[in-house]
Structures are given as structure tokens and as C-alpha cells.
Amino acid sequence: MAIINEVIKQKQGYKLHIVNTGKYKTNTFVWKMKAPLQKETVTLRSLFPYVLQSNTKNYPSTTVLRSHLDDLYGASLYVDLSKKGEYHIITFTVEIANEKFLTDPAPLLEKGMGLLAEVLFNPNASHNSFDESTVNNEKRTLKQRIQSSHDDKMRYSANRLVQEMCQNEPYALDPNGELKDIDAITPESLYQYYKQALAQDELDFYVIGDVQESEVEKAAEQLFKLQERTPESAGETAKKEIKEVNEVIERQDIKQGKLNIGYRTNIVYGDSKYYALQVFNGIFGGFSHSKLFINVREKASLAYYASARVESHKGLLMVMSGIENKNYDQAVTIIKEQMEAMKNGDFTEDEISQTKAVIRNQMLETIDIARGLVEILYHGVVSGVPVEMDEWLEKTDAITHGEIVEAAKEIELDTIYFLTGMEGQ
């Protein structure tokens, strides 16, 4: 039996994915909307989902809508924005109790799906315009959300690295939108874009839980009716020529320096070298047995955290560490040495098998969480190359020392970004 038991049905305008499993006490519904990441639409896309989740036609205020959710045994409803490669992804999630565990046996599955459909398709709108005060409220909180992302310095420096690294590429855009574009949005223009997104985005609907396939399908057909479409592709990204490494030093009033280093992996999800890249990253900086953790933290005592992660669809590898401002040169040197060691094949069979074991474990743990499961399945939608979990694990397991070195050789240093304190100015 496959590790994940996913059934995919093509419905009108969207794909329905059902994973039937008895391990949760709740049922989870995830609605994904995907379109190319673009300067012109990024702020509209970061705003309308929040307008939709504020209230609806039948539940026209936050109080009324949230009271309804409370009555459905505290069903949760939230939106999330992200980017995967050069796509902007909107995610709506509803999680609702399975009535099997309640003393009140009234069925909740259809109510949960109905609630999601209400939020998506029946907004508090009239005359082709969203409710004005709702839009104004959400414009304000969007501004606040963007501003406060500057206050979490770990996040800020990670975002700044990407901006510096991907100048003139769509990936530099923040999925939470652009502050300067918010004021110009009107309830009408936002409504118009919302309709456009519903008509043109690539749509995927995931239902996870102890559910009957036929029951879900019937409810989905009734509640989710959309027009057919051919979703727009973000197109191939051209390989960036790196002429020289970009070094950016930014100063702010902070105690701890944030060092973020970006590499181009030139390998994306679906490529044959992708599995080797994952093993590479595990040995290099992905886990607490990795070269970065051991050499930057354990041996040199420079940092509390020092790690690396891969952006699978854009082909980036990003190192992050928090260090004392004066240790910048030493930390950069150690990190570069670890990358060189990897390229020279300076790692053991033990490190490889250890890393494979941890990757396998991480994948299996992720699918124990309904939302984690959806994220893993969704990689296949974004890349257009669905991979069965079993295949993923087998291919990872088969990776050799030589293949890891081959992947390492593709990796190029692009940008070093350092957010440091005001001293020594």
C-alpha cells in the first residue's frame, strides 16, 4: 500500500484531492489558489483573502461569522500567503471536529465544506464591490502586517537577502504585498481582481480526514462550481549568470548580527539531481548533525543557530545564522569552508546514511499532520511533476557520494547579506 492514499478527481475548474485516514479527530479542508508572482497583482492577492475571511453575505460581520464558527465546535478558518518558486499561492484552511468524538452527533463534514464555499464564493459584496469598511479595515491591518515583518529581525534579514539576491526577478516580491500599493486599492478594483483570480488561478481542493469519498465528491460538486480554465504558467526562469558575489552590509540598532548567505543551486523540484541536493543540504546545514551546526555552533561557539534550507522551486539555498557583530569575517570563512568541503567530497558514508535516515523521518513525520501532508502533495502541483512519497523515499535512499558531489558542484554563491549593529560606524 502506498504511504499516502491520495485520490485525485478532476472537477470543473479545480482538482479535488481526497486523503481518507482515520488518524485525526478532525477533518481538514484546504483550498489552494495559484498564479504567477507578479508586481501588478501581488498586493491585490495579499489583500482579498483577508477580506473574504472577515465576513460573508450570510454572515456579514466578524462577530456573526466567528459566532457561527464557534457553534461548529470551534471550526478554525484562516488564510495564508506564500510563494513557491515564481508562483504566488493563497491557502484557505478550515479544520472542523469529527462529530464521532462529540456527544452531539450532528454531522459536521458538509457544514465545514459549506462554510469554506460561503467564504470563497459568497462575499459581503454588492454592485461589483466589496463592502467598503471591511476593505478599509483589511488595508490597515495589511499595512501593519508588512510593517511588523521588519520588527522580527530573523525574518527581516531572510527577506532582505532574497530581495538583494533576486533583484529584477519576480521571486524578490514579498507574498504579503507591497506597502506602497495598498492605498490605491479600492473595494471595486479588489472585487474585480478577486473575480479574475477565481476565474483564472489554478485551483486545488484537499479534503483530509475520516471521510467517505463519494460523500465528499457529491458535496464538492454541489458547493464548488467553477468555470474551466487553462492556468497561466510562470514560465521557465532563465539561469542567472553570477559575475561577482554581492556583499551587502546593513546597519540597524540591534544587538545580534544576522548573517544570511544565498546560493543558487541550479536544481529544482522534479530535476534528477533534486534528491541529491536534499541529501547535500542535510549534511551541509539542514540538521543538528550538519557541518554548519557542528562547525559554527559547537566548535567555534559563534552562534546559537546556524542552518541552511533549500527553496525547492526557485533553486536557492539559504544559510542563516545569528552571530556577534565582530565575528562576521570568522563566520563567513567557516561557512565558505564547509561549502568547499562539500564540493570536494569531504564527507563520510556515515554522514550520508545518517542524513538519509533523518530526511526519511522528517518526511514521514510531516505527513502525520494534515496540513503537512497537503504541503507535500502540493509540491507536485507547483512543479507539474507529481512524485509518490514511496518513490521520493526510494530515490533519496539510493543517492551516492558521487551524486552529492555532482549536485554540490552546481551550487554557486550569489549574495552575502549581513544585518549588523550601529557600532564602529
Binding site: T21, R66, S67, A357, N361, E365
Partner: protein
């Protein structure tokens, strides 16, 4: 071995207290890939004044030592335990709170080996002068990281406002000068006092064979020579009922202001069912006053005083406790005034009604079921509850029994101007 069934939740919990005093719980979870285990001592950042094992005099230890010990336990003579866990395909971690230090792993294979590694590494300390000195640089960076984090500063600023003397006001990681005083000898003193099995709880949740797991743990413990240890004597300073400071404004490098209103708890000598009922009642009360389905939330939101970061919480432990309400805001002073106003009015029953109670109860029941999807939640919360003589799985029945009168009484007893305080973070 005792079997404790929870029919409504379709769960069965197994329990045994071993000869050396260790409490062991196993909760089998079918269908899950992952096994998650925590090995926790009832020892946290607040336990800084105690009588060391076999000594007559109480000592005061440096701030941050429990957390420092947690870091150092991972290092052994032959290297670091993280390596061992990852060879066995597990991810390991640990955390220190005000009252507990927990060591944990999760894995989808080699569970037996990983469980053995977990128990053995926690029960085999190796501290040397050299390794202790090395750790100071790492923890120093952890402290600096939190110092730059406005949410952490806000949270701790509020606790500092509330408590005059109680060590809950001390940052869990300590300060760079306080950790400088930590030595290998002091770590051993703390370890020997607090890491005896009788002060610890082991919780395993996942697709495991209960009998086999229990036997493995018993065999492991029977190989180790633990002597019975007397009850640990800890002392805490006298703490007045009212807050130490009414208000504090921190200027930081931020673009968005933050505001938290806090209430210092009373009745913190409770444990068991009294504590469970009180803690749940306060949480229900806060939800009835400030939850997303309240008029209050909508008003604050529409007036531009709050955004999605707005939240509230109440926690209670033996000797301290607090309610906190707030989040990011454009106008911290106005938000402060409003929140104080709503709270003081609620003391007289304003803003409370029976409908909101029944809705909130339903919501809390659903949230509890959602939480039970998470092995991490189950193991960590069960342990916290057990250390306070409560049972996590009693949450549903106790919640269902809460009456409107309970809520009104709770509001009246908890909310008092002399126990309220405010902390703000504002741009420099």
C-alpha cells in the same frame, strides 16, 4: 500497569509508577508514523533557591542555570547526543520553562533504540570546565537573539511588572553576567537534586506496543542504581498580591507598537481539580470577553486598535500565574485604556452572557479535539498537568460543567485594579 480508558475520545492511556519513583505513561496512537517521547523533570527556571541533595543549607544558584544544564546534558565524553539520535533517524530537542525541563525525540523508525538513548543520555551527565566555558558563547548568542525580539521583551516586561520578588520574573536563559558564574560543579549540584527519577515523568505517544515499551523502560531503570531521595526542599520569596509596577514602556527598534495588559493571578496555591477548574474558567472568561466572535473584538478591530496578532492567554502554576491580553497596535495608549475598561466592567458582569458561554464551551471542545491530533501537545501538556496533579483528559468533563455563575465569580475574584499592569513596546 494501570489502564485508563477515555471512551469518548477513543484513547487508552497506560500508567505505571516504577520502583525508583519514575512515572511512566504510554499512549498508543494507531495510524501515526511518528512516536514522540518526552522525559521531563519538575525543575525549571524558578527553582533557583533550594537545599542541594545531602546538604543542610539552602543555596541560591545563578540565573539561567536550569536552561544551561539542559544544553549541557546533550554533550558527552564521546561527542554530542544529537549525532546519536540522527544516526537512528530521530530528531531530538529540549526546552526549559519556568517549572519544567523536557528532553524529547520524535522518530518513525528505531523507536526502541531512540527511547533507550533518550533515557540514558538524560540519566548520564558529563560536565567539565572546558565544555561549560564553550557553551557560554552559544547561550550568549541565544540571549542576544531574544533581546532583539520585541515580542519576547514585551512578554517578559509584563511579567517583570507583575512580580516583585518571585523568580518567574527572571529570564529563563539568564543574562550574560549570570551565566558567567555557572561552573561544572554547580551543574552537578542541580542535576543531583532535581534529576532523580522520583522527580521525573516519561511520556511515550505513538504507534507503539504498550507492553513492550513499558518493559523496556522498566528494564532500563532496573539496571541503574538509584537510591531513594528525600522530597526536594525549594523556597520562594514572599510575593505581594498586587503588581510591582503598574506600567512600563520599552523603546525598541520597531515600526509597529505593541501593548499587553496583564493580570496577576490569585489562588496560586491551588493544585489538582481546583486548579484545573480555575484555569479553564479564566480561559473561558477571556474568550467570552475578547474572542473573535465578541462585539468587543469587532469594535477594537473596526476602530483600528488591533489586528490579527491580538491574542489572550492565562496560565497558572504553583506560586504564580497571569492573564495577558493584547498585540500589535497603532495606538498602544488607547488600546490599553480600552482593555482595562472592558476588564474592570467584566468584574461586575458586564459583557458576559449565557449564550457566549455555551458558544465558547463548544469552541473549546473543538479546539481540544484539534489539539489531540498533535502528539507533541499531548505529551507536553499531559506532563504539565500531571506535575500540578491534574489530568489532561479531564479537560472535557470539567469544561462541560462550568456554569455561568462560575464565570461571574471568576471575573469578580480575578479582576482587580491593583493586580493589573501594562507593558508597551514603542518605536525609538
Amino acid at each position: 500497569m494501570e489502564k485508563i480508558p477515555f471512551a469518548q475520545l477513543d484513547e487508552e492511556l497506560y500508567y505505571e509508577k516504577l520502583d525508583n519513583g519514575l512515572s511512566v505513561y504510554v499512549l498508543p496512537k494507531k495510524g501515526f508514523n511518528k512516536t514522540y517521547a518526552t522525559f521531563t523533570t519538575k525543575y525549571g527556571s524558578i527553582d533557583n533557591h533550594f537545599k542541594p541533595l545531602n546538604k543542610d543549607e539552602k543555596i541560591q544558584v545563578p540565573d539561567g542555570i536550569a536552561h544551561f544544564l539542559e544544553h549541557k546534558l546533550f554533550e558527552k565524553e564521546d561527542g554530542d547526543v544529537f549525532q546519536q539520535f540522527s544516526k537512528q533517524g530521530a530528531s531530538a530537542n529540549a526546552f526549559t520553562s519556568f517549572t519544567r525541563t523536557a528532553y524529547l525525540f520524535s522518530s518513525t523508525s528505531d523507536v526502541e533504540k531512540n527511547l533507550e538513548t533518550l533515557i540514558d543520555f538524560v540519566q548520564d551527565p558529563y560536565f567539565t570546565e572546558k565544555t561549560v566555558e564553550k557553551e557560554k558563547g552559544i547561550i550568549g548568542q541565544e540571549i542576544d537573539m531574544y533581546d532583539d525580539n520585541p515580542d519576547w521583551r514585551l512578554y517578559f516586561g509584563l511579567i517583570e511588572n507583575m512580580y516583585k520578588s518571585h523568580p518567574v520574573k527572571i529570564d529563563i536563559a539568564g543574562t550574560i553576567p549570570s551565566i558567567a558564574e555557572i561552573t561544572d560543579q554547580l551543574l552537578y549540584k542541580c542535576y543531583e537534586t532535581f534529576y532523580h527519577p522520583s522527580n521525573m515523568l516519561l511520556f511515550v505517544v505513538g504507534p507503539v506496543d504498550v507492553e513492550k515499551t513499558m518493559n523496556q523502560i522498566k528494564e532500563n531503570q532496573s539496571r541503574k542504581d538509584y537510591k531513594d531521595q528525600p522530597e526536594i526542599e525549594r523556597s520562594f520569596p514572599e510575593e505581594p498580591a498586587q503588581v510591582a509596577e503598574k506600567r512600563k514602556v520599552l523603546k525598541m527598534n520597531v515600526q509597529t507598537s505593541k501593548c499587553l495588559v496583564g493580570i496577576k493571578a490569585i489562588d496560586t496555591d491551588q493544585s489538582g481539580s481546583d486548579m484545573l477548574k480555575n484555569e479553564l474558567a479564566v480561559n473561558v472568561l477571556l474568550d467570552m470577553l475578547f474572542g473573535k466572535s465578541t462585539k468587543t473584538y469587532e469594535e477594537l478591530y473596526n476602530e483600528g486598535l488591533i489586528d490579527q496578532t491580538f491574542s489572550f492567554d492565562y496560565t497558572q502554576e504553583f506560586g504564580f500565574g497571569f492573564a495577558m491580553i493584547g498585540g500589535d497596535t497603532n495606538n498602544p495608549d488607547q488600546l490599553e485604556e480600552k482593555l482595562r475598561g472592558y476588564l474592570l466592567a467584566a468584574r461586575n458582569g458586564e459583557g458576559l452572557n449565557e449564550d457566549a458561554l455555551s458558544r465558547t464551551k463548544k469552541k473549546k471542545i473543538g479546539a481540544f479535539l484539534r489539539a489531540l491530533n498533535s502528539p507533541e501537545y499531548i505529551a507536553n501538556q499531559f506532563t504539565r498537568y500531571a506535575f500540578n496533579e491534574m489530568n489532561l483528559f479531564d479537560v472535557l468533563p470539567v469544561l462541560e460543567q462550568i456554569t455561568f455563575d462560575d464565570i461571574k465569580n471568576t471575573a469578580q475574584r480575578l479582576i482587580d485594579d491593583s493586580r493589573m499592569t501594562v507593558c508597551q513596546v514603542v518605536p525609538k
